[in-house]
Symmetry: D3
Subunit: 114 residues, 6 copies
């Protein structure tokens, strides 16, 4: 299953220094700092990815968000809130990435439109 670690691992041979910065500066340092809790960091990371329409790296951060205590309902509400600030297409794209994950985890029902 895709997660931040796996993306990280995949790019190691292409950009070894980038891999090292992700391991060290990003996950080893910034994400560990206590000035913002992990739930807050997940909220703002996802908000930034949604606003930048970076769909290809959202799935692993939605997983991380669930692991950091954000509920499926809060994910839906966050996406809805951001439709106002980043535009409805950005919000719809994000919802389409979140949906299969939330279905897989049994947090929302499968439906005919999936």
């Amino acid at each position: 299953m895709a997660n931040p670690s796996s993306s990280k691992a995949k790019i190691r041979t292409v950009a070894p220094k980038l891999f090292e910065l992700i391991e060290g500066t990003v996950y080893g340092d910034l994400w560990q700092r206590e000035l913002l809790c992990r739930r807050d960091r997940s909220l703002i990371t996802l908000a930034a990815l949604i606003a930048m329409r970076q769909t290809d790296q959202m799935r692993s951060h939605f997983e991380k968000a669930l692991d950091n205590g954000i509920t499926a309902e809060e994910i839906g509400e966050m996406i809805t809130h951001l439709s106002i600030y980043a535009g409805f297409p950005a919000a719809i794209s994000a919802a389409l990435v979140a949906k299969p994950l939330l279905v897989e985890r049994g947090l929302i029902a499968e439906d005919a439109a999936s």
Copy 2:
């Protein structure tokens, strides 16, 4: 076939309020207002999607544009015009989304490069 309604339907279980805003505010209210005709609304919606490089939601708006009276030739010219303002890569990506739709509808010829 993909269309705005189907994307809308897909996100309903993830973000029910977003679904409601799309049904109500976007299609039920804004698109119905007479201060701009539907052809103008299609033109500016597509221009915005092309400029934001939001390829995953262009197909349904190209369909809508054809339904609102924009011709295949005008779509090509609009994309060409926007290459200047949003960059050639944005224009090329948009043309690659429009192409299979225009071929399916018999509005341009299939070719060896498709």
Copy 3:
């Protein structure tokens, strides 16, 4: 008063070839093509600038839009429509650029909030 020509003139000594492309390819060729009328070209140019939040070059294109027959009311409606697709902050920024121009031309009333 700022207009596309003046921006164009300002950059001539920095990037002479860019100046030449703007004079030749952009205004001398593309804007003259009849496949899209000038009103349509103004609509999509402005929509792209609004979606890209390129406020520093909007004023001259709002002027051009008025010259190409788009009314003050249509400008307001276009900005409102795009709030849905490009986000409310992009729309608000665009409205703040359009406002002094529309006031100067006597197309909307001056108000206490200006």
Copy 4:
């Protein structure tokens, strides 16, 4: 002093329907919903604005964030976290908007570099 209301008021004569949507849908409806608390909404709104580099509308949302209980230290940490996801230039631009507000409110010291 700039705040979301004042921007909103300024655009009323340009785009009256947009003003109505901001009053109604954005502040009257979405910001009132309890599925996300106001502190969370401020966090994600600011993260989106920072990621989109929409500096001209950040000031009022930094004010709102302070009013919603986010501390000056948390604002600094949020900006730092987002430097990783949205790039250092986006983070620096945001810090330059936040700084005079934080100084005015006596939350950080004035310094020689301001």
Copy 5:
């Protein structure tokens, strides 16, 4: 194998004038000018595509970069450098596009994470 020419060919029937501008203005004129060497043009073209997160048109420009004398190691370092300016997600997406090309050309080793 994807390359700039093939994308160009694909859009010819959709937007013939755009095709003509790409053949003429872009490759026939700008890329031939001696004020910047082709290696420099590849560097800045790729940097722009990475910063705009335009992944769907990167592959052919990575190929062009290799043809213009940029090494696999320099591609990795360029991506790493840009993680700072355009954000880590933009850099990771770019590395994931470059990787299969670099593996195919035998410039980096295949690995378990690919």
Copy 6:
């Protein structure tokens, strides 16, 4: 005169960790690595800033580019090249930032349009 150091200094009290990362990771580590020369780093940094339309932080990087051996003519050509990839408005905005610097340094003539 504005330069990367001064922006860096200004944000120190707002986001001390960000300041530390800029000093350490960005300038102390990445910019020192020999896999890309400083001229190449200036080219790609500027290309990214131009493509992201981050005008407020371009001036110091144009200065840095001149210090790293990029000529005024190459700056003009780089901006012209990027007009194709990032759009003409992005290129024009960049040229308007570069112009006063190039005039101040006596590298291009002052003109009536400035």
